[in-house]
């Protein structure tokens, strides 16, 4: 069922997320590469990295560029994954929970994301398109528009990460229904229960962030999402998403 209120929410949602996206881009214009910049020996970049790592602003940081301490400090800085902002892509599979998402067996998805990473946390707004890969008449497609906040517990080049996020999700589903009428004169047909709508969504994520010293990040993740939306009278659809994201 289509609701005008849902459409209004959709317009506001798009505007809100676009504003957030631009805000984040505005905060960190361009791609900043910690490791590479530390190689250039720029003191301000090294200091920024140390602050991000928790060392805080310290007069000694300035010594990174000076004398005998230079190599030590540089080595320390190399242990700290650099901060990164960039555009990314995610590709993965979708596993509907129970009989959700049109009772499809599964699907796949593509997300366009923005990745804002500091040594111990990352923020990721995204928009995507997910759809079924079912060959039957069961179908779904959805557009998630959300933002996630993740904790990166380890500072090494590889770290697990946890977190979650929320936002909006537009879901469309189609379920074939067997229709039979009559007692003596029987009619039989297959009808299609179609429903769609926009709902608030939340998700939790567990994953691994790889190649943190590189400007090209790879992350493997598993999400579990719930969307508060009633489709075909079946309550809030849930799904798992597993895949790989690449940040440039």
């Amino acid at each position: 069922m289509y609701h005008s209120s849902s459409i209004r929410w959709g317009a506001w949602g798009v505007a809100a997320w676009a504003a957030l996206f631009l805000l984040l881009v505005g905060i960190r214009p361009g791609v900043a590469l910690g490791n590479e910049s530390s190689k250039t020996g720029k003191p301000e970049r090294a200091q920024q990295q140390m602050e991000d790592f928790g060392a805080g602003p310290s007069p000694s940081v300035g010594a990174v560029t000076k004398g005998s301490q230079r190599s030590v400090r540089t080595a320390d800085a190399r242990e700290v994954p650099g901060d990164l902002t960039g555009i990314g892509l995610w590709i993965g599979g979708i596993l509907p929970g129970g009989q959700d998402y049109g009772n499809t067996s599964g699907g796949m998805g593509f997300d366009l994301l923005y990745w804002f990473e500091r040594p111990h946390f990352a923020v990721q707004p995204r928009v995507g398109i997910h759809f079924d890969t079912d060959r039957s008449d069961h179908t779904f497609w959805e557009v998630p528009l959300d933002v996630g906040l993740f904790w990166l517990p380890a500072a090494g080049p590889v770290t697990p990460y946890f977190g979650g996020g929320g936002g909006l999700r537009y879901i469309h589903e189609q379920r074939p229904v067997f229709l039979r009428t009559g007692t003596f004169l029987i009619t039989e047909a297959v009808g299609f229960d179609r429903d769609s709508g926009l709902g608030v969504t939340v998700y939790g994520r567990f994953g691994f962030l790889l190649a943190r010293r590189s400007s090209f990040r790879v992350n493997l993740n598993v999400d579990y999402a719930v969307t508060f939306l009633d489709l075909n009278g079946r309550g809030s659809p849930t799904c798992m998403a597993f895949g790989a994201g690449f940040v440039f």
Binding site: L179, T183, F184, I186, E188, A189, G191
Partner: protein, 177 residues
Amino acid sequence: MDHLDIVWPLLRPVVLLWLGGVLLLGGCGELFGDLLEPRVTTADLSGEWTLRGEGVRDRCTDRLYEGEFSLRLASRLSVRQTGTDRQGLALLELAQEVKLDAVRLVMSGGVQGNRVEFSLREEVEGVAEVDFQFVGAYNPARATIEGEFSGEGPMGCKNGGRFTVTVEKSGQTGADY
């Protein structure tokens, strides 16, 4: 002598006989009607009917029901052919009442030659849930009636499609109704 004077006396009886025959047959057309124009024999469709059809329905009160559908009888229907009406239409009716609780199946129709028309209506407490009209032709070689149907219901749908009835003579198999 002219040739005609020789031939005519020989031909005259033949010509007279031919003319006489034409006048006789023309004047007694009613008597020899069957010879001049053979009358079509009305098929006997009494027996156990099995119906199957495929159609499309639209304008339903619930759009879920719109689209293609199949049609069939839940089981074979015992039909009998009674006398003819004034137009020579042999009437068709159910051999016995088909009823289950408040649900009742009503049939009416007729056959003339090989042309068959009948309707089937399923009523619940006297109100028609579905009402289909069938028009088709009987094929004696295959003992089938094939044609088109239209009608209303369920869910107020407008229906149309094609159907086939297979007629088995009574006694060949046991009747289900």
